[in-house]
């Protein structure tokens, strides 16, 4: 049973999906529903990336909720996949965004990943999700209301949005002036593209590689596998696509919690100045060779997870 309810005070929409209370948690010793097998969600058919209708959907006609299983391997991670594999995931985002945008009950498509248990991933197997919202989410509504003028794309002026960290052939990376989370990064395609379906092959290749470098940069910054939200904004109204990475830590073993101000008021408080985040992230990401990668240290992980 899914109810989509509008808040009479703010006009914001909220989805109530009580079936999600019974969704499984994978922990050591339990069977993973995203590993290949006769009884699992993905079955036994070979794949590199699989997309499943979410068994516990937040939206389901109207709207859509899908799970993108990044790999058949349980211990893979987007940041450390082979390049071709990371690029395939972006191709899948393009394919599913295109298909969902054709549906009359989908208003906008949100591609995202919750990386790590501490940010809410209930299944450890590497995966992301795609929501086809049947309404405009509050954040995009506010962006549209705040100077979202058709034909005047603010994303085409990245210097207005944040401090530069690194530029690649097809993408800018900035620390937003108004960081909502410490070390937040914004990846902005240099060429105007309304959504992922409009990215050309070189933008996809470059973007997929860049996002891997960003993941690895966070892991180096914190010294363990960083818990973060990956959010692909496809905002419409003439604005262009952007990708935000929102880590939940403000340092080693210092988590940034969303507390009263953020949860109740929607007013974010961030402890790290943007210029400091810019310096630290730029030093790490520019030192990283683009051709060869840092090797993932299997000993590293999420120290908070081990504490449970």
């Amino acid at each position: 049973m899914i109810d989509i309810v509008q808040d009479p005070l703010t006009g914001e929409w909220v989805s109530l999906a009580n079936a999600r209370q019974s969704r499984p948690l994978t922990r050591p010793g339990t069977a993973c529903p995203f590993c290949p097998g006769p009884e699992t969600e993905v079955g036994t058919k070979p794949f590199h990336v699989a997309v499943i209708d979410n068994r516990f959907p937040v939206f389901d006609h109207p709207g859509a909720a899908e799970v993108v299983v990044y790999s058949p391997r349980h211990d893979d991670d987007y940041g450390y996949l082979d390049s071709w594999h990371a690029r395939l995931i972006w191709r899948v985002w393009q394919d599913r965004t295109r298909a969902l945008l054709e549906r009359p009950d989908v208003t906008t498509v949100f591609v995202f990943e919750n990386r790590g248990r501490r940010i809410g991933a209930t299944i450890d197997h590497p995966h992301g999700q795609i929501y086809g919202y049947p309404y405009w989410p509050a954040r995009l509504q506010r962006e549209h209301a705040h100077g979202g003028v058709p034909g005047d794309c603010r994303l085409c002026r990245p210097e207005d949005l944040g401090l530069p960290v690194v530029d690649t052939a097809a993408w800018h990376v900035v620390v937003p002036h108004a960081m909502r989370m410490p070390y937040q990064l914004m990846l902005i395609p240099r060429a105007h593209a309304a959504n992922v379906t409009q990215l050309a092959d070189p933008q996809v290749s470059d973007g997929a590689d860049l996002l891997q470098r960003v993941y690895q940069t966070y892991d180096r910054l914190f010294g363990f596998r960083a818990a973060l939200a990956l959010a692909v904004f496809q905002p419409a109204l003439g604005q262009h696509l952007r990708i935000e990475c929102l880590p939940i830590d403000r340092g080693q073993f210092r988590q940034k919690y969303l507390a009263a101000s953020e949860l109740a008021m929607g007013a974010f408080v961030t402890d790290i100045p943007a210029a400091v985040a810019q310096d630290q992230l730029r030093a790490l990401i520019t030192a990283m060779p683009t051709a060869s990668r840092w090797t993932r240290n299997e000993q590293e992980g999420d120290p908070h997870d081990h504490a449970h």
Binding site: V42, P46, I52, L88
Partner: protein
Amino acid sequence: MLKGRWEASITSSVTVDTVTRADGRTVRYYRTSETLSVKPEVSVVTGVDGYVGRAVAQALLRAGQAVVGLAAQLTPAVTPLMTYLGSAGFAPAWEAIASAHRVRAIYHCARLPEPPVPDGDVAAYYHVHVTETLAMLSRWTRATMPPLLLLSSTAVSASPPATASAWIQSLQAEENLVASLCHRWVALRVAEVVGPDDLGRVADGPDRPWARLAEGGATTTSIRDVVPMRDYVSLADVADAFVRAGRFLAAGGASQALNVGSGHNTPLEAVAEAFGQRTADVAVRWDRAAHAPQAARQWDWRPHAINLEEMAEASVHAVRQMAGTGGGGS
């Protein structure tokens, strides 16, 4: 056997299989497959069956480069090269070349059939040659953009224009067009080429009628020639200029057009003397200065044969031999 560098490229394709589960939910399985394509890197010589084209191809082979040819006719002159059949503007031939090779450079030595132009309008004639030739090349090169293009003036003009201003105007058009076709280019505006190739052929230019007359034993005749001062350069030196200009470009040299000649202008009367004839109807006084010092500085190219009498003698000898064996020359 092709020597040299090979290009490996990987193209990937994505397939998706959609399966509906027993509970009605859909699973989409994405797989990617990659195809490895390995192509030898080659230089393409157009007009490889011709007088200049064959000599250039042979010089490139001697310099250790992998070469394939493009020829309008598959004659024995194209051997021993791997040669594709077609004119320089024949797109299917270029597509066949591109599908099997990575084209590193084009040495455009083919001369096209002469287009119809108003009688006596030499500038228009030359302009049509330039634009037609390059337009034909562009049908293929715009899609693939070969990194280097070396263009022989013999490829764009069978005869020079009547006036210096028309010539300069045409060259500017040529350079603009060439620049739009490739990453970097050299246009070699070749002076009069003299001397037989290894098949005993001589050039279609002034060399040939002079040599034929000499072979026939004529002592006094009149050849209409609009250029009173000619710069004769040997075929071997021209081929060497192409090889060195190619090296110059490959090393990062800038696009340019140079007049390739010995730098020794010869009055028409002296040309006649060299070939053992007397003649000359002189229509226009104009000569084209060779950029010999510039070529020496930039490409390390210097003409080795500068004695016209010796070169003429070789041409006359070759024509005599061809006449004796019934050969037709170029």
